[in-house]
Symmetry: C2
Subunit: 273 residues, 2 copies
């Protein structure tokens, strides 16, 4: 998907919501467990219920891999089911030497038709650039994550820059902002500010709003740019809003709530009317 197409969707839906499909077989409503592919049935219902309010879906690979070969089938069916106008993110956090990264890129971009993959930067340039040779596909590099462990290495200071800033500066030398996003956690507004200064033109994929404690307003105030430049993810708060038979309608309600908050922000910042 091109940046123009993504931004057009954001404006049309007045939303920059990404729904995280962290579908855990132990957490989905009991009545689905009788189905042949409970994970896909759950995702299908969630997609039907939320697609009006979101512009992206992000399955986390760990949840599918935990079901082995069957999980990969559920994932493939899920990605095939997501409408083409919605941006898809393989939250895989891969990264390996050049040839191997290329293989991961083929898997997610060609075999599975994802629009983007999350990538860990530790192994440097040749672990990231193989993801760039696919037209209209994106690499989403971990910069500042929202977990407690982010402090261990990402804030290491060298030459007056944090490691996450260095990651952002370096990767921009390799990738155009039309192919490169960053994961930037929503835990502190001041950090989003630093990240935005390090990458003024790139989209940020922002986890950590809601259950993990970040505020949407901070994210927008520090992170929003002219064409929005933000995808804000919510997983558990939407997909597990209810564990009963009404899970899909509750997911819809929660997604709509977030979409409405986002619409307000998009209007406030003059991106839509």
């Amino acid at each position: 998907m091109t940046r123009e197409a993504l931004v057009a969707e954001i404006k049309r839906k007045k939303s920059f919501l990404c729904v995280g499909l962290d579908t855990d077989i132990t957490k989905i409503p009991e009545h689905l467990l009788e189905k042949e592919d409970p994970i896909f049935e759950f995702n299908k219902a969630i997609i039907d219920a939320t697609q009006e309010y979101c512009v992206a879906y992000k399955p986390n690979l760990a949840f599918y891999e935990s079901q082995g070969a069957k999980g990969w089938q559920s994932l493939q069916k899920t990605i095939d089911y997501i409408p083409d106008n919605i941006f898809t993110i393989a939250d895989a956090k891969r990264g390996d030497i050049g040839n191997t990264s290329k293989m991961y890129a083929k898997t997610f971009f060609e075999n599975m038709s994802f629009d983007s993959v999350t990538v860990a930067p530790y192994m440097g340039e040749d672990s990231i650039t193989p993801f760039l040779s696919f037209e209209n596909k994106w690499v989403i590099v971990l910069a500042l994550t929202s977990n407690a462990g982010a402090k261990d290495f990402q804030f290491t200071v060298s030459e007056e820059k944090h490691l996450f800033e260095k990651v952002m500066h370096k990767t921009q030398e390799w990738c155009s902002p039309d192919q490169l996003m960053f994961v930037v956690g929503a835990t502190r507004g001041s950090d989003i500010d630093i990240a935005r200064q390090a990458a003024p033109q790139n989209f940020f994929l922002v986890p950590g709003v809601g259950k993990q404690g970040g505020s949407l307003e901070d994210v927008v105030n520090y992170g929003m740019i002219d064409d929005c430049g933000l995808l804000v993810n919510s997983s558990r708060g939407i997909i597990y809003a209810s564990s009963d038979e009404n899970f899909a309608s509750m997911a819809s309600t929660k997604a709509k709530e977030l979409q409405q908050q986002m619409a307000e922000q998009l209007i406030k910042h003059g991106i839509v009317r």
Copy 2:
């Protein structure tokens, strides 16, 4: 597998060779492509031909994922086929927030019975520690990799330490040396020296010997400790030694050559007689 069991195998076989099962469907001999599961058939033949000379097998997940659900079945069959006395490494380079890392750990340790998983350190403590709550299972943390991109972030200097040294120091605070190994590339002897000083007691998984240019002698001189403390990986040099019907016997020959060089080193350093 315990450290004692691994070291006993190293002494018994006079080898610290790890064979990388980077099995690429486009590179395996043509006559195998008629089989129902060519990847497994290839691995089975390689395992039969090399198990006498190696103490570990390391499938790289990218190669299996590229075949989708079928690839996961090939991987499961491969891991089931490897004899219990041989250490197994899921070269997955995973790493995510706590709950998600736990899911990856369950996948590789419980569902698939691997002895160890490679993990990327960028996300810090809670991305690594979930792998530690499984008895006799190991986490292998990327410290200094053997690819060109290693220079981009791993050598970032802060408080007079490289990032890879900081990674090694920090992770040792969280994990006992009986559960924690490090990936340390074989590209320069002086770097292996620095890494060994940072982690005097841990096993190193060393890629980059052979095709990637590192020397076994350097690795041993700078990295070997009392109970060996080394697993040296070779992938392409062994498994693609020939692309003909004789691939398995050629793999055996190459593995034996490396084993004999390793035996010499183990004798020279007084670890075996």
